[in-house]
């Protein structure tokens, strides 16, 4: 059975293990800086195994060396998104932690795919790629996949139709500046424009961009974790089963829309090798402009980060 490592056993890390176990995808090794935490949570989950019929094992470890052989490692360490915390503060808090982890695992899992769940995701993915020269294929962040999930939930709610029937895409920066190409939102293949008014579509688009920060504000401190965990599990599923699924994840741009060297979310083909291909669907003029502005803003943001 394949093996996945998760670094950080807080709500996002532990619930990712939990979702992966529910799907029976792969064995999981959970790590946390706080000694015992990952062991306790892994044991608690395994004690549910007789009821839930898990076919894989969840193991808590206090030694990163145990990650050896993992096909992918999820980075879920660091401070969560809390109300009022801006990306600058999060970056200042989380970049030292995340870069420290990448440095430590480089020798243990040199070929693994790195999945970044820690916020702010796009700046972190960009910095990891620059500092550690991780190839694009082996590095991705949970960005647009979360926003897309929330958008799908909103569309499903609005139309009272099963969320399973809804496809939608969110690109760009995982923040208020995300690009929401509603022309690609469909319900069982039917364009949204045939199912609801233009006004409602615009409103959903606005809601989608505000949703992440609303969630953080409501939850006060811990931010959200079920959706990020479900997203991480989806990516792990696609990786371990070599599914070639198209998922919007944060990837280092390589000329798409004329943007290079910064990480933004694009619909990517996720398979056994990691990010096997990035797609660049046609965007409207304003959408493409917004994407380019996000790239520029991100560069500016990164200029202020102490590497």
């Amino acid at each position: 059975m394949a093996k996945i490592g998760i670094i950080g056993s807080g709500n996002v890390g532990a619930n990712t293990a939990f979702f992966v176990a529910e799907k029976g995808i792969t064995d999981i090794y959970l790590y946390d800086m706080q000694e015992g935490l990952s062991t306790g949570k892994a044991l608690d989950m395994m004690e549910a195994a007789p009821i839930r019929k898990y076919r894989n094992r969840i193991t808590g470890v206090d030694d990163l060396g145990m990650m050896a052989g993992a096909e992918a490692v999820v980075i879920a360490a660091g401070a969560g998104c809390s109300a009022g915390s801006d990306p600058e503060d999060l970056m200042e808090a989380n970049w030292p932690a995340v870069s420290g982890i990448i440095e430590r695992i480089a020798g243990i899992v040199p070929e693994c795919v790195i999945i970044v769940a820690t916020e702010p995701v796009d700046p972190l993915v960009t910095m990891i790629s620059r500092r550690f020269s991780v190839p694009r294929k082996r590095l991705l962040g949970l960005g647009g996949i979360l926003d897309a999930a929330r958008l799908k939930a909103a569309i499903s709610r609005e139309l009272s139709l099963s969320a399973e029937n809804v496809t939608a895409m969110v690109l760009g920066r995982h923040s208020r500046d995300m690009v929401v190409p509603m022309q690609y939102a469909r319900v069982s293949g039917i364009p949204l424009a045939m199912l609801m008014t233009e006004d409602r579509i615009r409103q959903l688009e606005r809601e989608a961009s505000e949703s992440g920060s609303i969630m953080a504000a409501l939850a006060e401190c811990p931010g959200t974790y079920y959706t990020p965990s479900a997203a991480a599990a989806d990516v792990i599923d696609a990786l371990c089963m070599d599914m070639k699924r198209i998922l919007p994840v944060s990837t280092v741009m390589a000329g798409e829309y004329g943007i290079s060297g910064v990480a933004l979310s694009l619909p990517c083909v996720i398979g056994g090798g990691g990010v096997e291909r990035a797609l660049s669907p046609e965007l409207t003029g304003p959408q493409e402009k917004a994407l380019k502005k996000s790239a520029k803003d991100l560069e500016q943001f990164l200029a202020g980060v102490k590497s």
């Binding site: 195994a49 007789p50 999930a149 399973e164 409501l218």
Partner: protein, 315 residues
Amino acid sequence: MKKVSVIGAGNVGATAVYYLAEKNIADIVMVDIDGAMAGNKAQDFMHAAAMRSYNVSITGTGDYAAIAGSDAVVVTAGVPRKPGMDRMDLLKTNVAIVRDVSRHIARYAPDAVVIAVTNPLDVIATVILRETGFAVKKVVGMAGALDSTRFRYFIAEKLGVWPGDVMAMVLGGHGDEMVPLKDYTSVGGVPLTMMAGEEAVDEMIQRTRTGGGEIVQYLKTGSAFYAPGASAAKMVEAVIKDEKRLIAASAWLRGEYGYRDIFLGVPVLLGKNGVERIVSIKLTAGEKAALDASAEAVREGIRMLETFYSPGGDN
């Protein structure tokens, strides 16, 4: 669509909701004294609906009116024991919380089966029964399911077999007084006693007794919630799908096993009406003695309860 309400949206409550959502069997309402928190967690779940193929709705609120028409209500509300808090303080706090919860259940969900999870479990179930005035079969406590799943996992781990292949039952009160039944434990149908020596089995039993404490030691600032959440969800599923599942649970006894008028963990048939039957199985003398001790511990808890509590009162 059937409906389940979970009172208390902390770790155990939210995890039970998660497991139930994954089963797609009922709409779910989460109620918490912090209604915004419950609402937010419900939203977070619904945002994952597209990825996890949920066909049910999950909502969260502070308003009990939302539980109207529930087929099952799970009570997880209460506080965990904090450092410096003695057993009596914990009991007083949680009884006050559960009394209030029970009255709301009686008012808004009079036809529901109530599954008690809050500790001290057997005493809390007594309060729920008295405050709701429900038929005794409608109130059941989650204890044996959790102790059993832990016991099964420890056996699986020790023997190197798949946890799903181990069947076991744990009776008695939840905690140190639990009574694991060795002779009724099997691995793929093979009696455990043929698979492991007495010493090894005793070791597994001992680990089961202290299973909750083991997790607390690791987590330091919290207690288990995955296995408790899964156990509560399993019981809800039995009720919602009318499975007539044979499971160990805390039920009000009226002479069964020789005990009267207490909640105690026994094998029950769990279905849409709650505890549809209490199943009598033969116990060894040692197991019966252990169950006696367990019943005495529950009675001791009830005596503590009665020093400050009377049904319908407001203390």
